[in-house]
């Protein structure tokens, strides 16, 4: 089956800098995408989502960009803080009406003091 993948397994950034985490997806029919944050020993937490009819969505300090032409998703974190250190997953919802989510392997974000 098709799956979601990530370009970088680990990303290290200086505190205060902006972070960009990338994700490639392969199912052109997927209609909904989510970014999750997972801290050590915890379950994934929702960060931000975007529907396929949009190309950008902003939240508090986070922005998700969707490029359907190249099937690419990115998460931008502004002014990265130590509390942002975690593993970040992108997920796609298969456009089958079954509400199944397919997750990528995750990128570990390390914030350097």
């Amino acid at each position: 089956g098709e799956s979601v993948g990530l370009h970088l397994p680990t990303l290290s950034v200086q505190e205060g800098d902006n972070s960009i985490i990338n994700c490639a997806y392969s199912n052109s029919a997927s209609d909904y995408f989510i970014w999750y944050k997972q801290e050590s020993g915890k379950g994934p937490q929702f960060i931000i989502d975007i529907r396929s009819n949009m190309d950008k969505r902003q939240g508090q300090r986070v922005t998700v960009l969707l490029n359907k032409t190249v099937k690419h998703l990115s998460l931008q974190i502004a002014a990265t803080q130590p509390g942002d250190s975690a593993v970040y997953f992108c997920a796609e919802r298969m456009a089958s009406g079954t509400y199944k989510y397919i997750f990528g392997t995750g990128t570990r974000l390390k914030v350097l003091a």
Partner: protein
Amino acid sequence: NAGVTQTPKFRILKIGQSMTLQCTQDMNHNYMYWYRQDPGMGLKLIYYSVGAGITDKGEVPNGYNVSRSTTEDFPLRLELAAPSQTSVYFCASSSEGLGGTEAFFGQGTRLTVV
């Protein structure tokens, strides 16, 4: 609001033993999911349910069974545990809200089969 609650948090099983991982949610969500997470890997869907009485296989269903007798509960059953089932298991639920259908996750169950 408890959200999604999983029990137990940790468990060690011997090969061939069986157990049930419990999951309950208090958000009245129709959709519930079981995932496993292996080290360095993304979440893999084991089973999911779109409502009470309805379940379906995900990507990696072999060795597992589920039931959904109520909206709130979605237990995952392991029969004849194998070392390959050593993993962290996450239960999740979601709704069909217009604002989005993100899944809410439990804290996970860390299972070791020895």
